[in-house]
């Protein structure tokens, strides 16, 4: 009995130690970036242009990250929600449904660099566009669509059967039921899914290397509203190096005198943004839940 009791105490201590260790590592990681960023950080960092000789900013690349997010979601959200509706409301148990699910599993396991290669082959080479934000967005859609589709499907399935039954019993069609009875309730989960997916899109780099391009933008003239002009930051037909890609670049070519500081601060910004997305997806979810459940 003694041995068993000692073993129990040791095991408990080890498990606590593991948990403590992991927390410490996490704090160390976040702490490192906070400590490194604070001395050199200023708000203008977020908006000013990069520089080779001085401590430049990340304005253009941050813009690109946001731009890519919006562009990607523009495609992904409608398809994701519609697809989720199909899977939750119309799909049977046949081979087609299984094929769709299998495809979802497959895509979610493909390495993002391979998705990037695919994006390159299709949206850069085959179409002749070269490196474009559009190409990058479509590539990002490749693996974010299945994700959002699954999250939407779950959100829609979570709507209680009673709501549907009530609507149908009043003589509404299936589509009317979906549109007016199910979706408004599922919107909470769907929005949560959108925000979560956004976090993933924001942090992605590997898939963008060879689709949206690698070159560091120097300066963006936001007054240029010509969507077809590759120099306009509003155009989807241009190089669009994002913040994540920019950080990755710090490891290869010399980016100028302040590479380390810039990369550290950029990392901090990235972490904050992605965490912001993840956290707000939860709060937003809870907030919307309360709104929708009739208060």
């Amino acid at each position: 009995m003694n041995r068993a009791l000692t073993a129990d105490r040791i095991a408990t201590a080890v498990l606590w130690a593991v948990a403590l260790f992991v927390i410490v590592v996490l704090i160390a990681i976040i702490g490192y970036f906070v400590v490194q960023s604070i001395p050199t950080f200023s708000i203008s960092f977020l908006f000013s242009d990069p520089s080779d000789t001085q401590l430049g900013g990340i304005g253009p690349v941050l813009w690109n990250s946001v731009y890519m997010l919006v562009l990607t979601m523009l495609f992904t959200i409608p398809l994701g929600i519609l697809g989720g509706i199909y899977m939750a409301e119309y799909a049977g148990d046949g081979w087609l449904t299984n094929a769709i699910r299998f495809s979802q599993e497959l895509i979610s396991s493909v390495p993002s660099i391979v998705v990037g290669l695919f994006g390159f082959a299709l949206f850069v080479a085959a179409t002749g566009w070269g490196f474009t934000a559009l190409g990058g967005a479509l590539t990002l859609m490749v693996f974010n669509l299945p994700l959002l589709l699954r999250l939407s499907e779950q959100a829609i399935r979570a709507v209680p059967a009673d709501e549907r039954a009530a609507s149908l019993a009043l003589g509404a069609t299936k589509w009317q039921t979906i549109r007016h009875a199910v979706l408004p309730v599922a919107i909470t989960g769907i929005v949560t899914g959108i925000v979560l997916t956004s976090g993933r899109v924001f942090g992605e780099a590997a898939a963008l290397l060879f689709t949206a391009g690698l070159s560091t933008p120097v300066h963006y003239d936001f007054s240029n509203l010509n969507l077809l002009d590759p120099r306009s930051p509003w155009s989807p037909f241009r190089n669009a190096t994002t913040l994540s890609v920019y950080i990755w670049k710090s490891n290869s070519e010399g980016l100028g005198a302040f590479v380390t500081e810039v990369a550290n601060m950029s990392s901090m910004v990235l972490i904050v943004m992605v965490l912001g997305f993840n956290l707000s997806s939860r709060w937003l979810g809870r907030f919307l839940q309360r709104r929708v459940s009739g208060l």
């Binding site: 068993a4 073993a7 129990d8 095991a11 408990t12 080890v14 498990l15 593991v18 948990a19 992991v22 927390i23 996490l26 490192y32 409608p78 519609l82 697809g83 509706i85 409301e89 119309y90 799909a91 094929a99 769709i100 495809s103 599993e105 497959l106 895509i107 396991s109 493909v110 390495p111 660099i113 391979v114 695919f118 082959a121 299709l122 490749v142 669509l145 299945p146 589709l149 509404a172 069609t173 299936k174 979906i178 976090g199 942090g203 992605e204 780099a205 590997a206 060879f210 690698l214 890609v245 950080i247 990755w248 710090s250 490891n251 990369a263 550290n264 990392s267 992605v274 965490l275 993840n278």
Partner: protein, 306 residues
């Protein structure tokens, strides 16, 4: 498949009923997923085999260890083993590092932690997941690599860029995945079973070791495989710290390479056959991850009959 038309909708009843537009539209959206998969597999496979079909490189050559892709030097050889070996080696050691920590953490959360501790650790896991891959890579580059070089140079870390650095960084990234799936496996073990063990006078660790762990074994294995799957997929962080030396992985302290790293390094500049070899590497990477998907499916099916 007919729908009951409400007269309030105002549409022609018969036509709508036959078309069922909403169903078709939503189906089309869902089918995009299949289309994408088919296209992706197709493109990668097509480009990947060009090395053999177009450039005439024999398939057996990719299983050699010499990587000399430069067409300008004599004796070009497209041996992919260093990259395949490197990818698998980095993955394996990462799993070795991450698994005990992850399973331990999952056990902690499921069996030992009081509510307040769970409320700290579980969100911490989510933070871990949220940190983008490039940030881990950057951190490895500026903190881990110099640290290994200066403090552990005596172990053999000449530059710090090494197999071990790659695995360590990768283990951080797969830790949350293995933890959360293992946790799910532990939590599903019925409380009854633990109670039965306690009623027989066992300690908590005895119950964990002899009842919970065996019952959750398949789930934990699935967790590890999922972790490995993610490891195979994580590109850039590893690339930033492993040194990218196209040699077979022999020493933990020396630079190695992976399929992903070489692709990211060479893709911009490589042309001709060299370029095609990179596509073949992409295809190999794809095949490795497909293998994992099949393994996970097999594991899932084995659990189902219970």
């Amino acid at each position: 498949m007919t729908t009951i038309e409400s007269s309030a909708s105002g549409a022609q009843p018969g036509l709508r009923a036959r078309l069922d537009l909403p169903r078709r539209i939503t189906l089309a959206a869902a089918l995009v997923v299949i289309a994408v998969v088919v296209l992706l597999l197709g493109f990668i496979a097509w480009r990947g085999v060009q090395l053999f079909i177009g450039a005439g490189v024999p398939i057996t050559q990719i299983f050699t260890t010499a990587w000399q892709p430069d067409p300008l030097s004599a004796g070009t050889n497209y041996g992919l083993l260093p990259f395949i070996g490197g990818t698998l080696a980095v993955m394996a050691v990462a799993a070795l590092i991450a698994t005990p920590l992850s399973v331990g953490l999952a056990l902690f959360l499921a069996e030992v932690a009081p509510a307040w501790a769970r409320r700290i650790v579980q969100p911490a896991m989510e933070v871990f997941v949220g940190i983008p891959s490039v940030v881990y890579g950057w951190l490895g580059l500026v903190v881990l690599v110099p640290f290994l070089r200066t403090q552990f140079g005596w172990l053999g870390f000449t530059t710090g860029f090494s197999w071990f650095a790659g695995s360590l960084v990768l283990s951080l990234m797969v830790l949350p995945t293995i933890t959360s799936i293992s946790y799910d496996a532990f939590v599903v073990v019925p409380a009854d079973m633990r109670s039965a063990s306690f009623a027989l006078g066992t300690t908590r660790w005895q119950a964990i070791r002899h009842v919970v762990l065996p019952a959750a074994a398949t789930g934990v294995i699935t967790a590890i495989v999922f972790g490995l799957m993610r490891a195979a997929g994580e590109a850039l962080a590893v690339q930033m710290v492993i040194g990218n030396a196209p040699v077979m992985p022999t020493s933990l302290t020396k630079p190695v390479t992976t399929l992903t790293s070489q692709i990211t390094l060479d893709m911009s500049d490589a042309t001709g056959t060299w370029n095609e070899a990179l596509w073949t590497m992409g295809l190999v990477l794809l095949l490795i991850s497909l293998t994992f998907v099949l393994i996970v499916r097999r594991l899932g099916n084995r659990r189902a009959p219970e």
